[in-house]
Symmetry: D3
Subunit: 208 residues, 6 copies
């Protein structure tokens, strides 16, 4: 049987040394393609490439929430898998402002506390809103405006899954008031009053 195995291993090796198919750990030093990053050389892969180690509550921002994202950028074994995940913790009264994720569905798996989460459909322009707690999961469909509020007592925590190896985030206020987009254009295209736009441009540090 010794020779059997030897021959068999040889057979296998002739078909496996060039292009491993089992996985494709991202080589982040090379430009990505529309289908993802090129794979790093398989000979350099160890078990640690498959393990992410800092998936813990982060430091709160001024909105009273923290968001620790494991995406292909810091967890390269997600390359080509089509999803990523984040640890989300929000203090009592905290708010996740209205935003969209380009090309990513979002799923919130509640761990503790109470969260009022919602999205607005584009087909029927309906607000779908629900307060969820431990044991609940909510789906927020791709690309639609959505938000979350910790309306309960104490902290709320969740694991959040995105159907993209790296979800883009577009926050309404940051996009409209946090850059050099001309105030006159903002006003004309949003019907917001001049004073309102100026106030938020001030708060979000957009230039005029």
């Amino acid at each position: 049987m010794f020779r059997t195995f030897f021959l068999f291993a040889f057979l296998l090796s002739t078909t496996s040394h060039v292009s491993p198919i089992d996985f494709c750990i991202a080589d982040l030093k090379v430009a990505r393609t529309p289908a993802g990053y090129p794979c790093k050389p398989p000979s350099t892969v160890t078990v640690d490439d498959f393990v992410f180690s800092n998936y813990l509550p982060g430091k709160n921002n001024i909105f009273n929430f923290s968001f620790t994202l494991a995406s292909v950028d810091n967890f390269p074994s997600l390359n080509g898998l089509g999803f990523s995940m984040a640890r989300f913790d929000i203090e009592e009264g905290g708010v996740v402002p209205m935003h969209t994720h380009v090309d990513a569905d979002e799923v919130i798996i509640m761990l503790q506390g109470n969260l009022t989460a919602g999205f607005i459909s584009s087909d029927s322009n309906t607000a779908f809103v629900k307060t969820i707690s431990e044991g609940n999961i909510i789906v927020l469909p791709k690309g639609l405006l959505h938000f979350a509020l910790n309306v309960g007592k104490g902290k709320a925590s969740a694991n959040v899954i995105f159907s993209s190896v790296k979800p883009s985030v577009q926050l309404f206020d940051v996009a409209l008031f946090g850059n050099n987009l001309d105030s006159a254009i903002v006003e004309k295209t949003t019907f917001l009053d001049h004073a309102q736009v100026q106030k938020l441009k001030g708060q979000f540090k957009g230039s005029d």
Copy 2:
């Protein structure tokens, strides 16, 4: 050669009567799947299934533009093709308000006039804005906030292409102020003032 053709036709026919592969005209009376609609029976297909006949400037809305969309809903031969198109005409001074298309890139092919079009990237939060005219095409990437203004003299017209058989449209004002989404939630998640929200709820007929 008569018999040749006869035999050959027979050979072909045995492989083609069950599932035509050339096209899949949507049968809109049946529920769609994530990959599109089921195909209508090939025996009922005529050349008119491949032709859309009302692709003309429509009636202007109050924003001074018209938008005639040929999507899988009214042009079923787009089923499975991955794109749709619209005839877009906008009067001098007209505004296409800030909006997103879920899961569809947009390309504007200018036919006449001048249009200032722009989008805001989510990665770098940069406003990409350009005034375009006949002979110009602009790409507005999938899911990002974008807008257009006819800032020139006279009417502007364009053919617009979407990378979806039916682009969803989410307008900022309609989504936030045109439904029953609670005003308090709108205020908390957008940082807009109470008075501003009430004013726009009134204009866009949202309930309080």
Copy 3:
């Protein structure tokens, strides 16, 4: 502005009542296609279609673990999203036997306790094994043999994500010893001894 909104809503409605694009909640009463289930009628969709409510630790099986799966079968809003998730709890000493998931990568997000998880690559026939705890995530690539053991003190819990709306599970012992696959075939194709096969056929209730 009243009329504006009215006209605008009319424009939108003419393009949205036939085939909503925002989501496709599975209609489980109709046969699925290779791309997923047909969508249920949008008029019947409520926020509860987006919420899963029983995502809690289940009853332990004899291996001392419980596994509560939210897949397209019991959470139809996952239709077309490309992933599903499970709540996994395993007592001290519990074992998840050697198995594969057809066509699904698996990601384990640790919540508490210690788990030794591992998989065997097919390219290099290497065992990748790691003991993980809270704050760790491990990727187990698609289709490869893998396992987990609670080797720590006390219970271990995790959220598990699969890159499929419904992961198939093929357990080594159940597949080989829990059905009517002929014992002689099992022996010849696995090199296991006759007595070993008979013993496991007895334990897993396979016929001879």
Copy 4:
């Protein structure tokens, strides 16, 4: 251990009775979608659904070849797999006329005899032609004009693989001369002489 297996089987069964993922045998009585046919009910599936039994040389046509195609139409377990196959036998001197396969790459695996096969690239308008025999495989890229000739001694046979569950076939002569396409249009769009078009319309039974 008896109870173990019982509990385990129960766990598995609760997640598997609605939508089997292992395979999707086409239900040919229902309209296909762009992603393939709906699946037939799993309870009706037997091993015979996975076996095709008439993959043998067929009756020669006037071109001196036979072609036995196993496509999703007569082998429903190919549904969703992305390929199909044909047994191809061609007598000495036989010709497979110039044709294309819409949306399918073709691979010829030679079994016996000699075949001169070729295709014309569209990028560089180059004829790629090679005479192949047993032990040779040739790739004919998707959508390009190609042909084959048995230029050797005796019969040639091959297994042919297509990257589609059902390859469409468009033969140059049948498409141009075997239907009611107006002769004047054929002449103008092909630069063929009137007499040549009339002659081939006669041979391929096209109307004038």
Copy 5:
């Protein structure tokens, strides 16, 4: 609120500097993959990458038409979008000869004039032919032989959309008579007469 924005921007920036997801402008100096070109560095992207500026009627060829194609080769922001477009102008009496596009559906959006366009299905070998004018769109399904004739008075113009970032074009006459494909092979595989083949080889400059 100043610190709010600062913290928020910081949070965002940590997840966005490595791999922008918003778009993937082709880096044409690097080899493409089956899914498209690698992305150029986001720091070098400006609004001009999203704008194509020479989309105007070109110089007529001898067939009396011009065709200005915006594909990924000269408009790199189309990379990964799945479509491209062309400005098409054809003089009275002009002919677009019989041809196919490998792997690309074509949609003609008429701007002015009258065009008789048609394709031949492979399933039923039917000629689908229609004369279209301004306000009409026609779909020509992927891979099938098709043609167009300006049969009206005056020039005809159109925007043409392809479901590929770069449509290959295979013209019947150029493919068969414009290269070194052996005349004997052409005759045997097309059933065209020797004199006809020689004549067209002469016109299209093919070698014998």
Copy 6:
């Protein structure tokens, strides 16, 4: 007409020299991406890139079978095509041990002899087993445990097709007993006896 062709060729060439779309021969010296290898430069492509020349029965291994695989690794024109193929020959009494292919359906096209082939479904844990001979094809669905035995008289031969440009192979015995996976883990996760594991570790040269 001379000038015609010249102008026409010029038109074509301006759209084709950068990124050929007809094919994408793998450049195996560059790292692959999740969608396949980058394409080698088109100017270096010849007809020999499309031809595989050593597709012949190989040398038998100790299990009495040979397996000659044409995958993207040694036949780079398969890049992006989604399938690969193997010549399979097995002597009387030969056994293909229990194994899986990650992410590849397998189709066996019998050429001669008799083969008992089977797979075990994961949904219903059913063994689907059939003895097949010349003129039969069997589908073995993606990722499931399967096996084959030459139970007939004399040699059996087949062409085997995989729905992957390079099928990974995971053999039960090699994966469990042919590497450094800890024996205690093997025993706990497979329920095999200690003595059985030690015996097979010896035969398959796994370390303890």
